[in-house]
């Protein structure tokens, strides 16, 4: 049964350097790496504290290649013989002292089939490889999960003659580590992280190529690069391209013909391979594609059919614009390929493009994407040179946001144009248009959220539930769940050099928004607002305090950090005495590490209204004083005139008094 450290936060409290247990019971032994056991992912021996005898390994998750959470959750409760099932996932400290995510699963029973290459016999292939693998794929199909990592170096065998065990494929995006050889061309041409969950038919294809490799004792098409392999598969068909002139047992050849069919629908389901004779008998005749009389040259490569043309345009989208504007595409489709229906559909696409200005590059990209979908409906979505399946968008975004800004820019444009919906509309019989359109609209809505809590990061975290938060603040820490965020921020708050910025940056806000539950929904709306003023700080505090309520733990360091950055919030109080009093109360609350009382202090709307009213009155009083002072200063001349008048009246009065005294003295004296 899967156990996540989220349910037992104490499991991570060992501190740096102290080994923390994953799922409360699994310990990773970094001194014992398992080379080649992880199917391309770093693997270490893992020990179960409750069952020392169990052979386990821990697969290290890369931050830009999120683990397959749905597959892990579905399979961790299952028991499927012949498959290295995931048991738990969680976070622990690596030997370097930084945190990393791991998936715990069973260890391989022996070396991989690629360890000692040899040519396998028909009976051995059927009994040890095909039937066990078909059983596993059938069990996965009933659970709605694909494997997407079937290849000789990820299939293990305890000893000769034993059934093989399929390796783990859970610690990275589906098929992201598969060489192009083992993937159907329409998956191989995709960005490695954008191949999506795919279907059981893709696993059957990979199993077919694996069986061919084992039957030959060497990988086919050795020496060719991925592009050449894909082109050859598209040009000749997978079976012809891979088998070529090789001599295979008739049984194996017949099975491979079905397993390597171009159309996934034509590949028999896994259940059928439990009885290889029945699978051999099932044959679906696929009509070969129409070939042109004369090749179309793109980048010196001759193109003979529509799907090769689609692949060439997917790799070189600028050529599509050139071919359309020169009318050469229409000419080639009608004259050389002789497919008037296809030419007519391509014309429709070009006509839609003409509704936009010629310099509109997004319209060019949309036209190219539609053209490719028309030329080869089985092809994935191709946008500005990046190919992916819609459900692989999350994996591509995770890589683009961390390592590749050019890729992120293209995905940004793809989401803005709702290209997945446009692509689905071009091939409605092959996908669920309504669901894809709704998803595209959701993603567009998240992208359009301005400020914190939106953008590509929001989409990436929403599509990759186990992707760790990529905030620079959390460097060296693995925060893939909300429960881990506050303890990580509390730890960061102890480092003075990291406390210079806001505690909630773009990535953390997007992470919270993507993992939010109902309680946080309203609070995070403020992240979308204008970044000016105190609203972002208040929204941060509100979201963090709600998180603390959901995951209670005192956070004195984070509280002190919030107070340091809360200047705009404190400045909302105009009364200086109230401001000082608030600051004193905040410092007192910070010592207790409780964010909700701090929020209550900042968010006291009644007191804030009274403060604003007080400020209004003070401003009015100051204006009155200023007016009076200005009036007094302006009345200086008037005062001088008044003083002259009064002075002269006083002088006249004095003179009259002197005269009266003189007369009185004369009369009386």
């Amino acid at each position: 049964m899967a156990e996540k450290s989220a349910e037992k936060p104490a499991a991570r409290e060992g501190g740096r350097g102290a080994p923390a247990l994953i799922g409360g019971r699994y310990q990773v032994d970094f001194a014992a790496p398992l080379a080649g056991a992880g199917g391309g992912v770093m693997a270490f021996v893992a020990r179960d504290q409750q069952n020392a005898a169990s052979g386990l390994m821990a697969l290290q998750i890369r931050p830009n290649a999120p683990a397959r959470v749905h597959a892990i959750e579905l399979l961790s409760k299952s028991a499927i013989p012949g498959l290295l099932l995931p048991l738990a996932h969680g976070v622990t400290f690596t030997a370097e002292g930084s945190e990393a995510g791991f998936v715990i699963c069973g260890a391989p029973p022996g070396p991989s089939l690629a360890a000692a290459p040899r040519a396998w016999g028909e009976r051995e292939l059927l009994d040890c490889v095909l039937r066990p693998a078909a059983m596993v794929l059938d069990a996965l199909a009933t659970r709605g999960v694909t494997h997407r990592a079937i290849r000789p170096d990820n299939i293990f065998q305890g000893s000769a003659g034993e059934p093989v065990t399929l390796g783990a494929a859970w610690a990275n995006p589906p098929a992201s580590l598969q060489p192009a050889l083992f993937e159907p061309p329409y998956a191989a041409m995709c960005h490695q992280a954008g191949r999506g969950e795919g279907s059981g038919a893709d696993d059957i294809y990979a199993l077919g190529v694996t069986m061919l490799t084992l039957a030959l004792g060497r990988p086919p098409l050795a020496g060719l690069d991925d592009t050449a392999i894909i082109r050859r598969k598209l040009d000749l068909g997978s079976y012809a391209a891979l088998v070529g002139e090789a001599r295979l047992p008739a049984m194996i050849a017949d099975l491979l013909r079905g397993m390597l069919a171009e159309d996934p629908v034509h590949r028999p389901p896994p259940q059928l391979y439990l009885d290889p004779s029945a699978a051999r008998a099932r044959r679906l005749a696929a009509r070969p594609g129409r070939r042109a009389q004369r090749a179309l040259k793109i980048a010196d490569q001759p193109i003979w059919d529509a799907r090769s043309l689609a692949y060439a345009l997917a790799r070189r989208p600028e050529e599509a614009v050139h071919l359309v504007r020169s009318h050469y595409l229409d000419h080639w489709l009608r004259r050389s390929l002789g497919d008037a229906v296809l030419a007519g559909r391509a014309d429709d696409v070009v006509r839609q493009r003409s509704e936009f200005p010629p310099e509109d590059s997004r319209a060019d990209a949309m036209m190219t994407m539609r053209l490719i979908a028309v030329l080869d409906p089985l092809a994935p979505l191709c946008w500005r040179g990046v190919s992916l399946w819609p459900d692989g968008l999350g994996g591509v975004l995770a890589e683009g946001l961390q390592d590749n800004s050019e890729l992120a820019g293209k995905i940004d444009d793809l989401v803005a144009a709702e290209a997945t919906a446009g692509w689905a509309l071009m091939r409605p019989e092959l996908c669920d248009v309504t669901a894809i359109r709704q998803t595209a609209q959701h993603q567009r809505m998240w992208q359009r959220i301005r400020g914190l809590g939106g953008g590509l990061a929001r989409i990436s975290y929403a599509l990759n539930p186990l992707q760790p938060c990529a905030s620079p603040l959390l460097a060296g820490r693995w925060v893939a769940r909300l429960a881990d965020l506050l303890p990580a921020l509390e730890a960061v708050s102890q480092q003075a050099e990291r406390r210079r910025g806001e505690p909630v940056d773009t990535h953390i806000a997007a992470f919270i928004a993507a993992h939010q539950d109902g309680r946080l929904g309203g609070d995070l709306g403020a992240f979308a607002g204008d970044a000016a003023g105190a609203e972002p700080q208040l929204a941060s505090l509100r979201a963090l305090s709600r998180l603390q309520a959901a995951f209670p733990a005192p956070l004195p360091g984070l509280a002190a950090w919030l107070i340091e950055r809360a200047e705009p919030l404190i400045e909302r109080w105009h009364n200086r005495a109230r401001r000082a009093e608030t600051l004193t109360q905040l410092r007192h609350l910070a010592q207790a590490g409780q964010l909700l009382p701090m929020l209550a202090l900042f968010d006291d709307r009644q007191a804030l209204a009274a403060d604003a009213q007080g400020l209004k009155q003070a401003l009015a009083a100051a204006a009155k004083i200023d007016a009076e002072r200005a009036a007094w200063r302006a009345a200086s001349a008037e005062r001088r005139r008044r003083a002259t008048r009064i002075g002269h009246e006083i002088a006249l009065g004095s003179g009259m008094m002197a005269l009266a005294v003189s007369v009185g003295w004369l009369v009386l004296g």
Binding site: H574, N575, R576, A577, G614, L615, A618, L619, A621, A622, I625, D626, E628, R629, A630, W632, R633, A635, S636, R639, R640, R642, A643, T644, R645, I646, G647, H648, E649, I650, A651, L652, S654, G655, M656, A658, L659, V661, S662, V663, L666
Partner: protein
Amino acid sequence: MKAASGSGPVAARPAAKPGRSLVWLQGLACGALATLATPLAVLLGALLLPGLCVLLIDRMPGKPVARTMLLCGAAASVAPAWHLWDHGLTMENSLDLLSDVLTVGLAWAATATGWLIAEVAPICVYLGLEAAAKRRDGEARAARARLEAEWGIPPAEEAALDA
């Protein structure tokens, strides 16, 4: 032509200056005094001479300086005038009194005192008014400073107040 003169604008009579009738009466009184009591007129004319001179040059409305000087000079001239009246209203007695330096000096000193009072009194009043205004300005400034400290209001620009 008669018609032309009849149709022309009627010339407005110039308005009489206020106090002109009073001046006329004062002139009549002085004339009467000079005619009926010439020695007294000579005596008063000599004793009030500075005030009368300032009366001619004082351009201020109501001639407050000259009037103050005349009043003060008159206060000092009451005694000599009574002495002249009492000892016979003759020119000889009048000239005797005028030949007394003390009498003339006292009258003219009183006139000078009147001038001094008329000049200094407005200054003193002005200083008093300014001091009161300054005190009230200081009180207002202190009240505003209290508001600034309490509410963080920006201080007033003194230049703006002067504007």
